[in-house]
């Protein structure tokens, strides 16, 4: 699991992923008649609740020539309904001292509120209402496009690293929509219409394409009738929406190098993007194997790359690996290195390659495997320590197609993995070399 918020900025390598067994979280899950999935995770530390509603639709589900419209709709969801017009939603939550926000990834859109527990019914009433009654005016569309363009300028156009990631993704995916930016291209944002947005909303938003995850100081038995009252009456969409994603064609040996030279670049680094399967393609066990490969090769503290390049050769600030097998569709396995001196970029990359070759030739040790596994036993404890941490864990995973049974099995699955499995996975992913490599070069301004 894990997610990418709209600013697809830095390095997937930071994504640590957590999955864990049922007993750790003491959750309750069920489904309403209209298809809404519900997960409740009680935690009574403070009289606070975290209410999150996840729609199984993201930017990669945008129609042709409308890149980013899922994110645009996310903005418009705050524009009001007949029952709660204009900014009643925002204002009410604010006035009650709640915190609210939303974000869109390629695969899902989430709306969330943290608030004192006594206000939970108000949140549910308004959130349920905008699931089906959103009003979108021409004027809202015109104004909000300006806000989104402004957001794009701040988060992408003004940041050379973000522009480079956009370019690298476009090279990594010729056909699959992960190749398009989550926020959309400026040229296409200009073209959104009221009808485009409203149709997208009508196609994708409904109880049978959503997951409600509530964590916090709640009494489950008292909460269930409330959930039924607010969400239970919403009719499900006529046809359950289906994602139609292009299958990425094989690149048949073509590789790409993408560079950005810009004085605003904070640090020089390179990132190699290897093609890798995800949990739907390879199964959750294999996804767990690749996750351990990511740790053994690329953990920032005990990974092989860090040991070789940062500790021993002292050539790099950091060197790490990242694996995003928890996306809805297959994405990448990445290796990133940041040379201390920009001039050593290719030297660092060569050292990385040497480590990769050694891994492919020799495999891994039992000790490395045990160290990596041990981290995961702690992860679920950390996750449980915050309401949004635990709720997002469920929301992120369920919204891309993990089942609760998968989540319950994942940790156990990690413990069964053998050195041989990790070695085989390394050979199959890394032998072919990266499809795309990106490089950042800070240049000195005169």
């Amino acid at each position: 699991m894990k997610y990418k918020i709209i600013t697809v900025l830095i390095l997937t390598l930071l994504a640590s992923r957590v999955l864990s067994a049922k007993e750790h979280f003491n959750y309750q899950a069920y489904e309403l008649e209209n298809g809404l999935q519900v997960v409740i995770i009680p935690n009574a530390r403070a009289p606070v609740v975290y209410h999150s509603l996840w729609y199984k639709v993201g930017s990669a589900d945008s129609p042709a020539l409308k890149s980013g419209i899922a994110h645009f709709l996310e903005h418009l969801m705050f524009k009001g309904t007949a029952n709660f017009p204009k900014d009643t939603f925002k204002r009410t939550i604010n006035d009650l001292g709640g915190e609210q926000n939303a974000n869109t990834s390629w695969d899902r859109t989430v709306y969330f509120v943290t608030i004192a527990k006594e206000h939970l019914p108000v949140v549910m009433e308004m959130e349920a209402d905008r699931m089906q009654n959103l009003l979108i005016t021409e004027e809202d569309v015109i104004k909000e496009k300006e806000v989104v363009l402004q957001e794009r300028r701040s988060t992408v156009d003004a940041k050379p690293e973000a522009r480079l990631f956009e370019a690298a993704n476009a090279s990594f995916f010729w056909e699959h929509p992960y190749g398009k930016p989550i926020i959309g291209y400026e040229e296409e944002i200009h073209q959104y219409t009221q009808a485009d947005t409203f149709n997208f909303y009508k196609n994708w938003y409904g109880p049978n394409n959503a997951i409600l995850v509530i964590a916090g100081d709640v009494n489950v038995e008292a909460l269930k009738p409330l959930i039924q009252r607010y969400y239970g009456h919403i009719p499900s969409s006529v046809a359950k929406p289906v994602r139609h994603r292009a299958v990425e064609p094989t690149h048949r040996g073509a590789t790409a190098k993408v560079e950005m030279h810009d004085p605003q670049i904070g640090a020089s680094f390179f990132q190699r993007l290897y093609s890798a399967p995800n949990f739907r393609q390879a199964g959750i066990h294999q996804e767990a194997v690749l996750t351990l490969l990511q740790d053994i090769l690329g953990d920032g503290t005990f990974g092989r790359l860090s040991k070789a390049l940062v500790e021993n050769q002292k050539l790099a600030h950091f060197a790490a690996a990242g694996y995003t097998g928890y996306y809805y569709d297959p994405y990448s396995f990445t290796i990133t290195g940041a040379p201390i001196n920009t001039a050593d970029m290719l030297l660092v990359e060569a050292s990385v390659e040497a480590e990769v070759r050694r891994l492919i030739a020799e495999g891994i040790t039992q000790k490395e495997l045990d160290t990596a596994k041990a981290q995961w036993t702690y992860e679920s404890q950390y996750r449980r320590d915050s309401l949004n941490g635990i709720a997002n864990y469920f929301g992120e995973n369920l919204s891309v197609g993990y089942t609760l049974a998968d989540l319950d099995k994942w940790l156990a699955s990690i413990q069964q993995i053998t050195t041989q499995e990790v070695w085989s996975a390394a050979k199959s992913i890394l032998s072919a070399g990266p499809l795309v490599t990106l490089y950042t070069y800070p240049t000195v301004q005169k």
Binding site: I6, T7, S16, N43, A44, R45, A46, P47, V48, Y50, H75, F78, D87, K90, R91, N94, D95, L96, G97, G98, E99, Q100, N101, A102, N103, T114, I115, A116, H119, K143, E144, V147, Q150, E151, R153, S154, T155, A158, G216, P263, I265, G266, T301, F302, K307, V310, E311, T371, A374, Q375, Y378, E379, Q381, Y382, D385, S386, L387, P442, V444, Q445
Partner: protein
Amino acid sequence: MIYARFSSLIVCVWLCISATAVFADIPIQEWTTAKKIHVIFVPDTSTDLISVNFSFKGAGSKTDPAGKEGLTSLMVNLLFERTVSGSDKFGLQKKLKNLGVLNGLQYGIDPDNIHFSFKCPKEKFKDAFEVVKTILVTPVFDAKELAKAKSSDPSGTRLATSGEQEFASNVLLKKLFSPHPYAIRSTGTMEGRQAITLEDIQNAYKERITRSILVFSVIGNISSQALTTSIENSFGTLPEQAKLPVIPQATVKDNGEIIVIPKETEQGGVVFAQASIPLSSKDYLPLLIVNDIMGGKPFTSRLWQDIRENQGLVYSIHTNLANWDQASLLIGGFESDNKTVKRVISTIREEWKNMQKNGVTEAEFTASKKGLKGGFVLNFATPDGIANYLLRCYLNGLSTHYVNERNKLLEAVSLEEVNRVAQTHLAPEKLTFVVVGNLPE
């Protein structure tokens, strides 16, 4: 994501007292150990992790001697580098991670204080403390590591390589506070860092990392006795008394200027500020409401409504109360298209004038108070939140029992007080702006 608070602004570790309300049930324990170390502790059996936050009060970057700006920051950085002979940072980091301290020992230096924190599984508590002890109590300072650390730029000091708001906030601090130490970011200046010697680092360590200014805030499933034992075993051998310079009150030179730093960029980054009042002032809570209505709250604040919702000129705009030990500011920031920066600035001034002259409405007042009160409890939803908030109270000279008083105090604030404070403390003519961008003639 529908909004993001401007990130690089001066705000960093400044206190987040902008939250509010009564949550009376936190069982706070507080004591000073025989070795003079102050401890705030909240037992919590609902978690298997222990959150440990600690600070060296008053030892922040404001203590850097003139000409050696960046000293405290470099010293703390070097605690983590180690080397010289064998014992290196990698070994210690690995040890921590293997103990389940997944995020390692974290640190931060703000103008007033030095902060550390870590989180560990309760059964690894003693072992984790041992590693932290190695880092803090038996440091190794290495001349080579110092040279390496000095060679990197402090953040936000080069126009070409900095974010617009980050650079702008550095310029603004300089403008408002020079020659007070608050004029300079905690990471110091390039010249200051170059002048620092290994001996400076060693002395800075001895003078700052001491017991009498050390305060812990801990939450978790552990006994207070075991906590005291671990703290004393680990830190009991530090020198007791700190040797810190006396820092005078800062005068804020907010003269209403608009300073423009030209830079070829997609859009202008702007920060602005005027002098404010300390947390101890009786007007602080009324001003908190003023700020909340003006720009403190996303979505519904006047600036947000006017500038983002009605005019669509920004993606985000925000104001904040910022309080240090020796100065206070009302600050804000935004980014906008270069062409519209000036229009946003004049709108802000107009909003300032309007609220100063006409005050806030009864409805705004009621809503803001309700929101600030209701939101207070959100600070305590995680163990880290609780530990951090209590520590902040202590560092800011407030009783930790403030958490149980806060909403009563806020409730007692009247509309008349808020409007009086808006009139006396909002100073549109003093609001000083720094713009980094490519503004049209």
